[in-house]
């Protein structure tokens, strides 16, 4: 995985609360056995009508959304299904971060494993971001994972954001969590030696 440290990018806003993973990528796009092409299905039912034509009123279809790498979204983003296809679709479309006041648990975990930063901010910062996006047809933000500071470049605001420290370490160094787990072999073997299987699926 590419290390992530700091980046400056255009943000656009989708100020709806409780955006669930069925909206981020509907179930009928989960039939693939790889991760290719997920970006095309991002927000499919909001982006396209039944005939497959872009809905002009949806933010991702606005001309100013081109090149946006940060999505500002409402409270409790990513609730619902555990599908990792959601962060794959966001990454596939080019998003590197989502800024919200709150993230659903499984989504946040999945995002962090795919180089998609879930940036949690307070309600006031969120409101300012949404109005900057709406006034300026998008706005520019800088996300610094080293210092954990989000800068609203046009809003004269800097805020700290929290991120799980282990996930941050992995992202900064471009290492994945499986590697860390595999290094725990000794501890795992010791645990297993003391704890025989409680249940077996093969009789």
């Amino acid at each position: 995985m590419e290390p992530i440290t700091t980046f400056t990018a255009k943000a656009i806003a989708l100020p709806i609360d409780n955006i669930d993973t069925d909206q981020i990528i509907p179930a009928r796009f989960l039939k693939a056995t790889d991760k290719q092409g997920m970006g095309d299905a991002l927000f499919a039912d909001w982006r396209f009508d039944a005939a497959g034509n872009p809905r002009p009123d949806f933010v991702l279809n606005h001309p100013e959304a081109a090149g946006a790498e940060v999505l500002v979204a409402g409270h409790n983003f990513g609730c619902g299904s555990s599908r990792e296809h959601a962060p794959w679709a966001l990454r596939g479309h080019g998003f590197k971060a989502v800024i919200s006041t709150y993230f659903a648990d499984i989504f946040r975990n999945n995002a962090l494993k795919n180089g998609l930063l879930p940036v949690t901010v307070d309600a006031e910062t969120y409101r300012q971001l949404v109005s900057l996006c709406e006034e300026g047809m998008g706005t520019t933000v800088t996300i610094d994972l080293t210092s954990l500071i989000l800068t609203l470049n046009e809003g004269n605001r800097q805020v700290a954001f929290p991120i799980d420290s282990f996930a941050r370490y992995c992202l900064l160094n471009g290492i994945d969590q499986l590697g860390f787990l595999l290094q725990q072999e000794e501890a795992i073997a010791a645990y297993e030696a003391e704890h025989p299987a409680l249940v077996q699926t093969i009789a």
Partner: protein, 472 residues
């Protein structure tokens, strides 16, 4: 120090505790997998040259992307969608290559992963269980710590039988009192989610306690724990008791002989100790609950069936107002409109929330000798082949069929509409499943979540109905 149920299970599975820099390494007893969220995890294993550490602690089933249409002359359920066929054969191949037992489509133990685990006796008190599926919380009904994970984590568990986890907080939801006739476990959980909101449980493991929970059967407890995730909670748990132990006893994978006695002794130690504390507690009174129904596009948007659609104008928060307004527009509902009497096009009785034998019995009891309202499509989809077999042995399928409902093969079906069992745009469904998200049951489809009883009532009347008016 007194401990909660969650703390006992968590502590017993710590390979390495959490530190300031690293999450806990948690040992996983049982890993369930299905065709949709596992293929990329097996790819990861192959890329790294890794084996599955414990295929004998892993079980695969096919459920999400499977047809529920009738078998052909050879007894085979035909899969016509080429993408579905590819995904199913990929799972078959992965299981064969890595030695994982598989309940393939149409075989006698196949079914929805969260129905199969308990019915086979694999789901047991005190276990840690995961699956690449958010409704893994279902298994918490047995006092297991069970939660959904993403596909990367499916790969982690396949490779190491462990998971990196930060320790969640604890949340006790105490439900006192006794349910009134016509009010069910589904109504309890819908009321809980309406109270705490869809994000209210985020970061918590919920333990459901109280007299009303104790009085529930295992299948009803599964309905409650199933929807924990709909309140945002990582898992939901219920302490094991006699009801739990009786349910597990004698099932194919339940411990036998002396191992059984030892297991029961261990399970008896799991309930939360006197004096243990939770990070958060709320209390509900079951005796005041009415049948619940959702009006919006998330499971927290639920109300007692006798109430009217809320008005966005009554909300102070602009974000919440916008969200509710968008929901009602999608649903085609007007603020202040009564829910009772709203027309329904489709009724779906199924899903890991409500597709077990007791759910089907409840629906059949109401529908026996009656007919489905004209123009309403009613789909009854058993949760597993075992449930289907049992229902047929009891003649429930005849009740449904003679009422004019469809009796289908087992699977997730219209719960997520991945297999073509879908609503048409603008159709209204009363569904016993767990999610009413926009388009969940088919693009443009509109879902009212409710109990099997409320669903059966709507099937018979063609409109949203207070089932209490139909009970003799």
């Amino acid at each position: 120090m007194p401990q909660t149920l969650f703390e006992k299970v968590w502590n017993a599975h710590l390979v390495r505790p959490e530190s300031d820099e690293t999450p806990a390494v948690l040992a996983i007893d049982l890993h369930l997998i299905h065709e949709v969220t596992s293929p990329q995890a097996f790819t990861l294993l192959r890329e790294r040259g890794l084996r599955v550490r414990h295929p004998e602690r892993t079980l695969a089933t096919m459920d999400h992307n499977t047809p529920t249409t009738p078998r052909d002359a050879n007894g085979v359920i035909p899969v016509t969608d080429p993408q579905a066929r590819a995904q199913l054969s990929q799972l078959e191949q992965n299981c064969a290559e890595f030695g994982i037992p598989l309940y393939a489509l149409g075989t006698e133990n196949n079914g929805i992963v969260h129905v199969v685990g308990p019915e086979q006796g694999l789901t047991q008190p005190g276990l840690t269980m995961v699956c690449g599926d958010s409704h893994t919380s279902t298994h918490g009904a047995f006092g297991a710590l069970a939660f959904g994970i993403g596909t990367s984590e499916v790969g982690h568990v396949l490779a190491t039988q462990c998971l990196l986890q930060s320790r969640p907080r604890t949340f006790a939801i105490q439900v006192n009192g006794q349910l009134q006739p016509g009010v069910t476990a589904k109504d309890i959980i819908l009321a809980i989610i309406a109270t705490i909101g869809v994000g209210g449980g985020t970061g918590y493991v919920v333990e459901y306690t109280g007299e009303a929970i104790r009085a529930l059967s295992m299948e009803e407890r599964m309905t409650i724990c199933n929807m924990s995730i709909e309140g945002g909670a990582r898992a939901g748990m219920i302490a094991p008791d006699d009801t739990t132990i009786e349910y597990v006893a004698g099932r194919p994978f339940a411990p036998k002989g002396r191992a059984w006695d030892a297991a029961v002794e261990r399970w008896r130690t799991l309930p939360t100790d006197e004096g243990a504390t939770y990070d958060r507690t709320i209390t509900l009174d079951a005796s005041t609950l009415a049948p619940m129904i959702t009006y919006g596009t998330n499971p927290g948007m639920g109300i007692p069936i006798t109430e009217s659609v809320p008005d966005p104008a009554s909300l102070d928060d602009p974000g919440a107002r916008l969200t509710l307004d968008k929901s009602l527009r999608y649903m085609g509902l007007i603020p202040g409109q009564r829910m009772i009497g709203h027309p329904v096009d489709v009724v779906f009785i199924g899903s890991c929330t409500n597709s077990r034998i007791s759910d089907l019995r409840q629906a059949a009891n109401l529908m026996r000798g009656r007919t489905v309202a004209p123009g309403v499509r009613v789909m009854v989809v058993p949760g597993s082949q075992q449930v289907k077999k049992q229902a047929e042995a009891e003649g429930l399928h005849q009740v449904f069929l003679s009422a004019g409902a469809e009796w289908r093969e087992a699977g997730c079906s219209m719960c997520l509409g991945m297999n073509g069992d879908q609503l048409k745009p603008r159709q209204y469904a009363v569904s016993t499943s767990n999610r009413n998200f926009e388009g969940r049951q088919g693009p443009g489809g509109r879902t009212f979540l409710a109990s099997p009883l409320t669903a059966a009532a709507a099937a018979l009347t063609g409109v949203i109905t207070d089932v209490r008016t139909m009970l003799s």
